[in-house]
Amino acid sequence: MENSSPSEIKLKTYRWVRPCTIVWLVLIALTLSTLAVGKFELIDVMGGRPLVAFLLITTFIKGVMISDYFMGLKFVRRRWRIIPLIYLIIVCSLIWIAYNQN
Amino acid sequence: MSDKFTKSMARNIFIGGSLFFFLLFLGLTFDTMSSLPKRDHRENITPQVASGKMLWEENNCIGCHTLLGEGAYFAPELGNVYKRFGENKEVIKAFIKSRPVTGIPGRRSMPQFNLTDQQLDDLAEFLKWTSEIDTNNWPPNIQG
C-alpha cells in the first residue's frame, strides 16, 4: 500500500509532533522518579515489594509509550502494536516473579 | 510480496549483523585469551606433558574416549581419570600396559599400543595435567 495521501500525512504529522513532546516530558519525569527511588535508598527504607512494583509499572508505562508514540505503532495496524506490548508484559511480570522468589 | 521489505535492507542486516557479532566474538576471544593463563595453569606444561599430548593424538585415543566431554562416547571420560584412579600415575600406566592384544571377548576392548615406559609416563603426565584444568567443576562426579 503506498504511503497515505499528502493530506493524510499533514494530519498525521500534526498529531505526531504535539503528543511526542508530551511523551518526552513524561518519560523524563518517570526516569527522574526511578532515580529518586534509587538515590534515596527508598527500597531499603520502605521495604522492597511496593517500590519494585512501582518501578516495574513505570518501566512498563515508559516502554508502552515509546513503542506507541516514538515508534509510531499506535498509528499502525493493531497486530504490530501487540508484539511489544506482550513483550513488555512478559518481561516485567517475570522480573516481578523473580524478585518475589526469595 | 509487500514492497515494505526490500532486498537491499535485508542484505545490509546480513552484512552488518554478522560483522557486528563477529567483532563481539573477537572481543570475547581476546578477553578469554588474556584471562586463560590464570585458569589453565599453562606453566605446568612440561616437555613431558607436550609429548604426552602428542602420544594422545598419534594413537587416536579421541576415537573411543572423551576428553573434557569431547570425543567418542564408546569408552570412559579421561579428563578426570587421574583423580578417578586415586591420583596415581602408576595405576594409569599399568592399565594401558596390560591391555590384552586380542581384546576381551564380548567386551569393548582397548588395543595394546606397545608404548615404552617413558611414553607411558608422558601420557600419564598429560592426563594428570588435563585433570587439573579449571573446568568450572565439570564433570558432575568422579565417574566422569
Partner: protein, 218 residues
C-alpha cells in the same frame, strides 16, 4: 494466483486460524486507514524482535540468577553508579525524541530540518557513549572484569552488548544523515529514515528496562 492479503511472515498462521479477517474488517472500519506495516523496512523489525528477544532472555537470566544469590548481587550493586545510569537514560530518551522529530520533519518534506534533528540525535548518542566509556573505565580501573563475580558478568556483558548496539545505531544514523545531506530523502521516499529511527527506539526501549533492573532494583 494471488491468494488474499500477502503478509510474508504471518501469512502461514493467519491462513490456518482465521477466515480471511482483514478483507472483512476493511469494509467495516473505513474511517481512518491505518498503515499495514510499521514505519521503516520490515527487515529491521525482524531484527528488532530478535534483539528484544535476546535482551529479554538476558534480563530474565539476570533476574532469576539474582534471586539465587541475593546477597552477592545487592552487595555488588552498591558499586554501580546510579546517577550515570539515570543520566544515560535521560540522554537516550531525549535522543529518541529528537529522532521522532527528524522523522516527522522529513514526512513534511523539510529535508534541512530533518538533517538538524538527526545531528542532534547523534550528538546525544555520542554523549551516551562518552558517559558509558567513563563508567567502564571507572570499573576496569577498580579491577572489575567479566570474571570478577556473577553480578559483574551480567552487568558488564549486558551494558557492553547494549553499548555496541548504540555504536551501531550511531553508524546507521550517520549513514542516513549523509544520504539525507546528499538529498537522498524527500516527502515521497523516506523509508530509510524511519528504519534508522525504529532501530534507535529499540535501543532506547532496551535501556529503559535495563536501567531500573540493574541499577535500581535491590
Amino acid at each position: 494466483m494471488e491468494r488474499g492479503l500477502r503478509l510474508p511472515f504471518f501469512n502461514f498462521e493467519y491462513k490456518l486460524i482465521l477466515f480471511n479477517r482483514q478483507m472483512f474488517k476493511r469494509f467495516l472500519t473505513q474511517k481512518q486507514s491505518k498503515d499495514d506495516y510499521p514505519p521503516g523496512d520490515l527487515v529491521i523489525w525482524i531484527f528488532i524482535y530478535a534483539e528484544l528477544l535476546v535482551f529479554g532472555v538476558l534480563f530474565l537470566a539476570y533476574a532469576f540468577s539474582r534471586s539465587n544469590n541475593l546477597e552477592l548481587f545487592n552487595e555488588s550493586q552498591k558499586l554501580v553508579n546510579q546517577e550515570l545510569g539515570a543520566l544515560n537514560t535521560l540522554i537516550l530518551i531525549t535522543s529518541s525524541f529528537f529522532v521522532v522529530r527528524a522523522v516527522s520533519a522529513i514526512r513534511e518534506g523539510k529535508v534541512e530540518q530533518c538533517g538538524h534533528w538527526l545531528l542532534a540525535t547523534m550528538v546525544m548518542g555520542s554523549g551516551f557513549i562518552v558517559v558509558k566509556i567513563f563508567e567502564f573505565s571507572e570499573k576496569f580501573a577498580a579491577g572489575i572484569s567479566l570474571s570478577t563475580n556473577t553480578f559483574f558478568t551480567y552487568y558488564l556483558s549486558m551494558t557492553a552488548f547494549h553499548f555496541m548496539h548504540v555504536v551501531v545505531g550511531l553508524i546507521i544514523l550517520g549513514a542516513i544523515w549523509w544520504k539525507n545531506r546528499r538529498g537522498g530523502y524527500n516527502q515521497e521516499e523516506y523509508t530509510g529514515v524511519e528504519t534508522g529511527a525504529s532501530y534507535w527506539h529499540m535501543v532506547d526501549l532496551v535501556w529503559i528496562i535495563l536501567f531500573p533492573l540493574i541499577y535500581v532494583i535491590r
